[in-house]
């Protein structure tokens, strides 16, 4: 996919040998699944370690709520499998491919875990890290090991599943993942309020989430972005009687904010949230993770410099498109008590700006020691997250 040398191991032993040899020879390896996220981070020269050989279902017992699959299994296959049993990956995997103009469905489950990115339902059901029960992997030491387990409740030893979720291939090459799966809501209803300002929308979402309505997802699209008026959307999922009851209670809360209606093209709306298609595809794209109540301060800081934005997670996730001004974005995120990830940008900007927001010196040093614990020779240090302050 990039003209770089690629190796595609087909067994764990072979994978361990490849990584072990890379450690001895000083070779750098970039772990790749479906390649949907190769445009994330700085461009790099490392050889590709293709994980698609580790594909297939190992064990799935719906009544146990546990699924074990090869890390190279396509995400769409995993989702189709659990859907066939009326179940779901509750964190709503976020497929990053479309953000880079790639087709939907290229991601693997291993890549999804390594990126640790969840969709709109992250607000209510947690992220990948909350559903990864265990894994098998080969560390940068070239050793196969396992962590966690194949049951839903376990506190035996350190919770390394959290550590590998969102580690972006910097600790281990995952070969097998065990995930908690949950029943899928039988019906879904999205209530929408039009015309709210960001301040009103934030208040409406906060009020709604403070009521016992188990709101699955809450998003806001401001005016502009092809819309005549802003749109605040709240999603309910579950059994029909329950959704009906909660929908009534939610309407009661929202009536004080504006005219509320059941969104007709809700599937389309949430799909667009997941592909961030409302924001211009030719501009750099940022993902700001902030406390929900900080939404308005972020907007106030960024709208004057021309940023276009929309938000998910009741304001806790702000997608922001802006031509340049990276320091301003990072400062706004930090001032809000959160951080900003550079998701999409031209190559030159990605070489200059680290995709992940730099952290305090103490945390940075600790991260570095943890990385060395799994990967002493730096086999997985590809330069993807390098910048002047972030020696990779």
């Amino acid at each position: 996919m990039t003209g770089r040398p690629a190796i595609r191991p087909s067994s764990v032993d072979e994978l361990a040998a490849v990584i072990g040899a890379a450690g001895r020879s000083g070779t750098r390896l970039e772990i790749v699944g479906g390649g949907s996220k190769v445009d994330f981070g700085a461009s790099r020269e490392a050889s590709l370690l293709d994980m698609t050989g580790f594909s297939g279902v190992v064990d799935y017992d719906p009544a146990e709520l546990v699924l074990t699959v090869g890390a190279g299994t396509p995400l769409v296959e995993v989702q189709a499998l659990v859907a066939s049993e009326e179940q779901m990956l509750a964190f709503e995997p976020f497929d990053m491919g479309p953000v880079y103009g790639r087709p939907v469905g290229a991601s693997t489950i291993g890549g999804t875990v390594a990126a640790g990115t969840a969709g709109s339902r992250r607000l209510s059901r947690g992220s990948v890290r909350d559903h990864l029960l265990g894994f098998e992997a080969v560390s940068g030491r070239g050793e196969r090991f396992i962590a966690g387990a194949k049951v839903v409740k376990n506190v035996t030893g350190y919770d390394l599943s959290k550590l590998v979720s969102g580690s972006w291939g910097r600790l281990v090459a995952l070969t097998q993942v065990t995930l908690k799966v949950l029943p899928r809501g039988r019906v879904t209803t999205t209530l929408a309020v039009e015309g709210l300002s960001p301040v009103q929308a934030q208040a409406a979402m906060s009020r709604s989430l403070g009521a016992p309505l188990e709101i699955a997802a809450a998003a806001y699209c401001p005016r502009g972005l092809g819309r005549e008026t802003s749109l605040t959307a709240l999603r309910l999922e579950g059994f029909p009687t329950s959704v009906q009851a909660r929908s009534g209670a939610l309407r009661h809360i929202l009536v004080g904010f504006g005219r509320t209606h059941v969104m007709e093209e809700a599937d389309r709306f949430w799909h667009d949230m997941m592909t961030v298609s409302a924001l211009p595809a030719d501009l750099p794209l940022w993902r700001l993770n902030v406390p929900p109540s900080a939404l308005c301060s972020v907007v106030e800081a960024m709208e004057p410099v021309g940023a276009q934005w929309l938000c998910d997670w009741a304001g806790g996730l702000v997608w922001l498109a802006l031509a340049d001004g990276e320091q301003r974005v990072r400062d706004a995120a930090l001032a809000a008590g959160g951080h900003a990830t550079l998701v999409r940008a031209p190559e030159a900007m990605r070489a200059r700006v680290c995709a992940l927001q730099p952290q305090s010196p103490g945390v940075t040093a600790l991260e570095q020691r943890v990385r060395r614990a799994f990967d002493p020779a730096g086999v997985f240090d590809t330069g993807r997250f390098a910048d002047s302050t972030h020696a990779d």
């Binding site: 959290k162 029943p183 016992p212 309505l213 600790l366």
Partner: protein, 497 residues
């Protein structure tokens, strides 16, 4: 006692008065405890079979003091054992003869409540229940509810990744925590996580939760609170066999229902509980399920009906739905009193905590009964049926020579059985010292080495809570250079402590 702790460093114990004096320069007055009588208060935690008075206890009140204590101990090579409320059931806070016991009991303030972002910032010594008490007037609660919630501290919950009866639906501590302030062994203070949902880099918070006090000392916790469900109702279902009860649990979940709680008790536990609290449990059944549903009233009504329908189809011989809140609480009263109730059957009991794939439940109970005969010790079973987390209670009498050892051997066999059928050593109580030596049953040397190197990244001198969780002594430098062939480490004869 069969447990072997690391050999105390007598050169450290010899410096005791110097260590006490140094701690007194950091924490004044009664915050440093060194009299033998007062030290005995701290000699064990909830796992009372093991006792060891600490060398000295220090009770700081500020993060700066915690940092200064750890920095001094780090520089002087003195071990530290952190302690919250001391309710651990696995010996996580068991003192060491040559270590400072660092108590967080004075960190008792709730620092901030933010209803807009639905979070609470609390000091680690605040009890679990106090969080809910602080926010319930505004219609919120903190979901994880370990049975010790009236006493256990939120910092201890973070260390142990505590669960409770509602964790199938609402998650363990790790799923309800947003951030911590952590003091590392060298005294450095870091913040992991925050008020936002995702971390900026590696999820270090995720590995700190459940690390049993080995990675750092938590001095502040940010946790998520949830709106209190509108209604909760429970249904009490009796079965003529454990198999049928187990099938009912699987069918409820396969039916798309995740109850707020789903508990099972076997015949001995039912009888003990009923004799203790008289709540009207059926006594002619082999297994009893308590299924609790919460949410809007319409949802509860509908789901209770579904659960009842499934239960009857699976052969339930009795089915009672709570008519009001007092009856719902009565259903739970028996379950919640199960431990003390079983305690009346026998002078001592030993509570185990394995998790198994639920489908293996009948087989596991059958083999547990065989072990019970083999060891000549009774066993009663209560478990979190929804997530397969077993709590077998082994009945013994510590005053009968050899019975404690037999109870421990029986318990180890139960946990080995859990792992053999695809489960784990501990679902919520932690490894501590109790299951430390069983870790190799579940993980290979290589698996454990990958965990221990994380310890080295946080605490390279291995001074924080040593002797817990990991069965084998490895210096960090040694872990760094070990080469493994066919799963065998060199020096397999290294001392095991």
């Amino acid at each position: 006692m069969s447990l072997v702790m690391p050999t105390p460093d007598f050169s450290v114990i010899a410096r005791r008065s110097e260590i006490v004096a140094a701690l007194r320069t950091i924490v004044s007055g009664e915050g440093v405890i060194d009299s033998p009588a007062e030290l005995r208060v701290y000699e064990s935690d909830g796992l009372t079979a093991y006792r060891q008075p600490p060398m000295v206890v220090v009770l700081p009140e500020t993060t700066a003091q915690v940092s200064a204590i750890l920095r001094w101990c780090h520089a002087e090579g003195v071990k530290v054992v952190p302690r919250g409320s001391g309710t651990s059931l696995s010996g996580g806070a068991l003192p060491l003869a040559d270590a400072v016991l660092l108590g967080l009991g004075k960190f008792k303030r709730i620092l901030e409540i933010d209803y807009s972002d639905r979070l609470v910032i609390a000091q680690p010594g605040v009890t679990n229940l106090a969080i809910t008490r602080a926010v319930e007037g505004n219609g919120f609660y903190y979901a994880p509810d370990p049975s010790s919630q009236i006493a256990c501290s939120i910092g201890g919950n973070v260390a142990e990744n505590s669960g409770g009866v509602h964790c199938l639906k609402y998650g363990l501590t790790t799923n309800n925590i947003l951030g911590v302030e952590l003091v590392m062994m060298d005294g450095e203070i870091v913040r992991l996580g925050g008020r936002q949902l995702d971390p900026a880099g590696l999820d270090l918070l995720g590995v700190v939760v459940g690390s049993e006090g080995l990675l750092g000392v938590v001095t502040e916790v940010t946790l998520r609170i949830l709106p209190t469900p509108e209604t909760a109702r429970a249904v009490l279902i009796g079965f003529a066999s454990v198999e049928e009860a187990g099938k009912c649990v699987a069918d409820v979940i396969a039916g798309g229902i995740i109850p707020a709680g789903m508990e099972m008790m076997d015949r001995p536990a039912i009888h003990a509980a009923e004799a203790f609290v008289n709540v009207g449990y059926p006594l002619d059944v082999e297994a009893l399920l308590i299924v609790e549903l919460d949410g809007p009233e319409a949802e509860c009504d509908f789901l209770i009906g579904e659960v009842e329908r499934i239960a009857l189809a699976d052969g339930a011989v009795s089915c009672r739905i709570s008519r009001d809140e007092s009856e719902r609480l009565a259903f739970w009263a028996g379950r919640k009193a199960a431990f003390p109730a079983v305690g009346r059957l026998s002078p001592d009991y030993y509570c185990m905590d394995g998790t198994i794939p639920r489908r293996r439940l009948p087989e596991v109970l059958q083999r547990m009964n065989a072990l019970s005969l083999q060891y000549g010790l009774g066993v009663a079973n209560v478990f979190h049926a929804g997530d397969g987390n077993l709590h077998p209670l082994i009945l013994y009498d510590a005053n009968v020579p050899g019975e404690l050892d037999r109870a421990e051997a029986f318990g180890s066999d139960i946990l080995r059985l859990c792992v053999e059928v695809g489960g784990v050593l501990t679902g919520e109580h932690g490894v501590g010292v109790e299951k430390r030596d069983l870790m190799p049953v579940m993980y290979s040397e290589i698996d454990l080495a990958h965990q221990q190197r994380v310890k080295c990244a946080f605490d390279p001198k291995l001074l924080l809570n040593p002797g817990k969780v990991f069965p084998t002594l490895h210096r960090c430098a040694e872990l760094g250079r070990v080469h493994v062939h066919h799963g065998r480490l060199p020096h397999a004869d290294l001392p095991r402590f």
